[in-house]
């Protein structure tokens, strides 16, 4: 079975055509911009921007459904917990107090708190699609080439792509071993106590380690025999040349990044946008 979560899919879109390095830099710039600013107008703008890119990169909903479910659950829990622990944080930040609803004790819903929490949720909602785009549109080997391009030693960069290459194989081994051990009577379901489940997991992990070691030996032989590690540098088959699109993407990201900083300094005077004064 192919690994469904995080699987890079090969289609041709303007986003896929960008080099992995460009995508990494853009992702970091945009993430920083969003994390820095608490201006809801700006964040809505970035969110709209990231959804447009999601559309352009032709990522289907079914591919990211599982990931999105986790994200939504996380956001809801986060919002509830924030309110439980810091119901007055919005008031503290914005310095005013407009009550909407009295609940009980110190739990009063204020416009300030509402704005703060909505802003926070939107921050995540705009960054997460960007992360998904990066993972699903970047060829791991090409990404390794990019990492090497920014000065990371190629052996480290190659290890990243090799891990991705063999991860599905090892996952399949795990499944086979686990099934065979269950047939011998291993209980891996919730029926077993935590302690015995831990002990039982060892019975799967030991054969997995040994078969993985076999695998590693044959890969490293194959790599040696084809000259891996001979020279201090190497070139990359899947390295992409920087195209106009890369410059445009980087230009846009720098612009958004600059906007985030400039809005804070010149318009809001702080990281927060305050409509209450």
């Amino acid at each position: 079975m192919k690994l469904k979560l995080f699987s890079y899919n090969v289609i041709d879109t303007p986003i896929h055509r960008l080099s992995g390095l460009t995508k990494l830099i853009c992702f970091l710039l945009l993430t920083f911009a969003v994390m820095f600013s608490y201006d809801i107008r700006f964040i809505l703008f970035v969110m709209a921007f990231s959804f447009v890119i999601l559309k352009i990169s032709k990522i289907r909903f079914s591919q990211i459904k599982l990931m999105l479910i986790y994200v939504v659950v996380f956001l809801i829990t986060n919002a509830i917990l924030t309110f439980l622990f810091e119901p007055e944080y919005g008031v503290e930040i914005y310095g005013t107090r407009h009550e909407i609803l009295r609940i009980f004790g110190r739990y009063n819903l204020t416009q300030e708190q509402l704005l703060y929490q909505i802003t926070k949720v939107l921050k995540y909602a705009s960054v997460i699609p960007l992360g998904i785009i990066f993972l699903l549109t970047t060829n791991p080997s090409e990404f390794a080439a990019s990492l090497n391009g920014v000065g990371i030693p190629y052996k480290v960069a190659y290890a990243v792509s090799l891990t991705l290459r063999y991860f599905p194989d090892i996952q399949r081994d795990y499944q086979n071993i686990s099934q065979a051990q269950q047939a011998r009577g291993l209980e891996m379901s919730k029926k077993a106590s935590f302690g015995s489940r831990f002990k039982n997991a060892l019975l799967i992990i030991i054969p997995l380690i040994f078969s993985t070691l076999d695998r590693i030996e044959s890969i490293s032989n194959a790599m040696d025999l084809r000259g891996f590690g001979k020279l201090k540098k190497r070139t990359w088959y899947s390295k992409k040349t920087i195209i106009t699109g890369d410059y445009i993407a980087m230009g846009l990201s720098v612009l958004v990044f600059a906007m985030s900083i400039l809005i804070s300094i010149f318009i809001n005077g702080s990281r927060f946008f305050n409509p209450f004064i």
Binding site: M1, K2, V10, N139, P140, S141, S161, L162, L164, R165, P168, D169, D173, N176, I177, Q179, A180, Q181, Q182, A183, R184, G185, L186, E187, L202, L203, I204, I206, P207, F210, S211, D214, R215, S218, I219, S220, N221, A222, M223, D224, L225, R226, G227, F228, G229, K230, L231, K233, R234, T235, W236, Y237, S238, K239, T241
Partner: protein, 572 residues
């Protein structure tokens, strides 16, 4: 004056630091440019070690003590490094999956170029050209998961051809390939040899399959020494193969059974060249003499599968309306190309996956509701790679594991483990650590650990993969013995010999459907079936054709019957 040898061993010995004895001893061997050479030998004979010496894994990856000299293209090998040697000798390793380092075909072929710092544009050019040589031009963007075994092999070959090496070294190229793909692999190697005139070395124990296309010389290695270095015709007419646990071509065995004295001047290394004058008459006479064995009594059905359907994703049917019926005490094989659904079928029978539709009956009981653990007491599964099953360090503990997990009392465990080890011929090793065992012995430990649960049916996935003839015979004799004790045996296999010699009946799967369920002798002589299921016709069939025997299928069946008789006589 002949050319200088490209590879020359002079009084060469090698001993791994981890071993007490040298693995190679007094090797003297010259290989000349452009030769095509087959190196055969039983498991553990040192043939792979010899290959490692040539490609530089020895001494640069596996350390040890070298005596004598090895020269490659005039250079003393141990004074070079693995990278220099890799520019002269290109190696295609045994496991084409394990050596696939790239995420796509193109990337994998380019690997050596990347390491040589060839620039990206030029690299794309070279890769495209080399891929064309091995017919992979259209698949440059495919990932290893999408390729067949043969396509992976072609990719590996292209990966070494990009370097323009002088010597191509193939380390067991046929392991893990189905029969038809193996045949194609040998043809590709031969075509590359003819079109490039590179020196080709093939290390392999499946002699008959390699001889599908000619080789110049065969070198036989046993116990670390070269014991024969001769042309194929001479070797197959000698006793050397049999004496050293290497299987001779099956048609040669038939000739010998018929009392024919196989000689070098009959050109017996290939059926096409075999001179038939002295063969036709005795072969016909022998075949007519063999008596039909008595019919066995009908046994009750032990496992009945009815209209089974299964799919992983709800769309592609992996198992598509499969129906068959296996009787108590049967020994059958399930064959078909990779991806035909064989392993999935085994997983469903063991309850690892559950069918979408259809019934499975054990005797007359529907076993749908039984858990994996409960089914294991009826149907045991032995995986192909013993390392994937073994999780304890002592043999006793490993075999006892399934019983301990079922809370059987230690006294009963002791008795049952001792029994199982006895049956598997492992009693002398009861106190041993598993790490001290050979691969074949480990395999028997895994069989013992399944037998101890006393299942009525055992499914074995490729029980003989990677085994030489000697170990193959040992494992199969052992399985025959437990079969006679009443255990029903189902084997998933690519091995035509196994199917022919040990399983009277074969089920052939294609795209999840049963396309044949009949005698092995019929399957392996039906060219239509053979082509569909990526099998290979047995050479016996062509021998019959060449000897003007009308019913080739019957000839094959008689051969099987005769051989079974020989085996039983030897046992007794």
């Amino acid at each position: 004056m002949r050319q200088e040898p490209i590879i020359e061993f002079i009084d060469y010995s090698f001993q791994y630091f981890s071993q007490a004895e040298p693995t190679l001893m007094d090797i003297n061997l010259k290989i000349y440019p452009g030769e095509k050479i087959l190196i055969v030998g039983p498991s553990g004979s040192g043939k792979s070690t010899l290959g490692h010496c040539i490609n530089g894994l020895i001494p640069f990856a596996y350390e040890g003590e070298i005596k004598g000299t090895l020269k490659i293209k005039g250079l003393v090998a141990k004074e070079q490094n693995i990278f220099t040697l890799s520019k002269i000798v290109g190696t295609v390793l045994q496991d084409s999956d394990g050596q696939f380092v790239g995420l796509t075909v193109g990337e994998d072929i380019a690997f050596a170029l990347e390491n040589d710092r060839v620039n990206t544009l030029q690299m794309h050019d070279t890769v495209a050209k080399v891929a064309e040589m091995v017919d992979m031009g259209k698949l440059l963007k495919s990932s290893p998961f999408e390729l067949s075994g043969g396509q992976k092999q072609r990719t590996s070959l292209a990966g070494v051809l990009v370097d323009d090496v002088d010597v191509l070294l193939f380390d067991e190229p046929l392991a893990n390939l189905d029969p038809a793909t193996g045949k194609t692999a040998i043809e590709i190697i031969d075509d590359i040899h003819k079109s490039t005139n590179k020196t080709v070395l093939i290390i392999e124990h499946r002699l008959e399959d390699v001889l599908h296309r000619g080789v110049d010389r065969i070198i036989v290695i046993a116990d670390g020494r070269i014991i024969a270095n001769m042309v194929p015709d001479e070797l197959v007419s000698s006793q050397i193969l049999i004496e050293n646990g290497i299987r001779e071509p099956l048609y040669i065995t038939a000739l010998k059974y018929a009392g024919i004295n196989v000689q070098k001047d009959m050109f017996p290394s290939h059926l096409d060249t075999l001179k038939m004058q002295k063969v036709v008459q005795p072969l016909n006479a022998w075949y007519k003499r063999i008596e039909e064995p008595e019919k066995q009594d009908e046994k009750p059905s032990i496992l009945k599968v009815e209209n089974l359907f299964f799919s992983y994703d709800g769309k592609k049917k992996i198992i598509n309306d499969v129906t068959f019926d296996i009787s108590e005490g049967d020994m059958i094989s399930i064959v078909g190309k990779n991806g035909a659904g064989k392993s999935t079928l085994a997983k469903i029978l063991c309850g690892f996956e559950s069918q979408d539709l259809g019934e499975i009956y054990y005797y007359s009981e529907d076993i749908k509701e039984k858990s994996i653990k409960e089914r294991a007491e009826i149907i045991g599964l032995v995986m192909q790679n013993p390392n994937q099953m073994i999780s304890k360090s002592l043999i006793y503990d490993e075999v006892a594991l399934g019983l301990r997990l079922r809370n059987v009392s230690e006294e009963d465990i002791k008795e049952r483990v001792e029994n199982a080890l006895e049956v598997c011929g492992l009693s002398p090793f009861i106190e041993w650590p598993i790490s001290a065992l050979s691969y074949g012995q480990k395999k028997r430990v895994t069989i013992a650990s399944i037998l101890v649960l006393e299942p009525k049916i055992i499914i074995l996935d490729e029980p003989t993969a990677g085994q030489d003839y000697y170990h193959y015979t040992e494992i199969m004799k052992f399985l025959e013995r437990i079969n006679k004790m009443g255990v029903t045996i189902i084997m998933i296999t690519h091995d035509m010999h196994l199917m022919l010699e040990y399983t009277p009946r074969a089920i052939v799967l294609l795209d999840g459907e049963v396309i044949a369920d009949t005698r092995a002798s019929i399957v392996l002589t039906d060219s239509n079936l053979v082509a569909k299921a990526n099998l290979k016709e047995t050479s016996l069939y062509f021998l019959a054709e060449k000897a003007d025997i009308e019913d080739g299928t019957l000839f094959v069946q008689r051969f099987i019957d005769y051989e079974k008789g020989v085996r039983e006589a030897n046992e007794a």
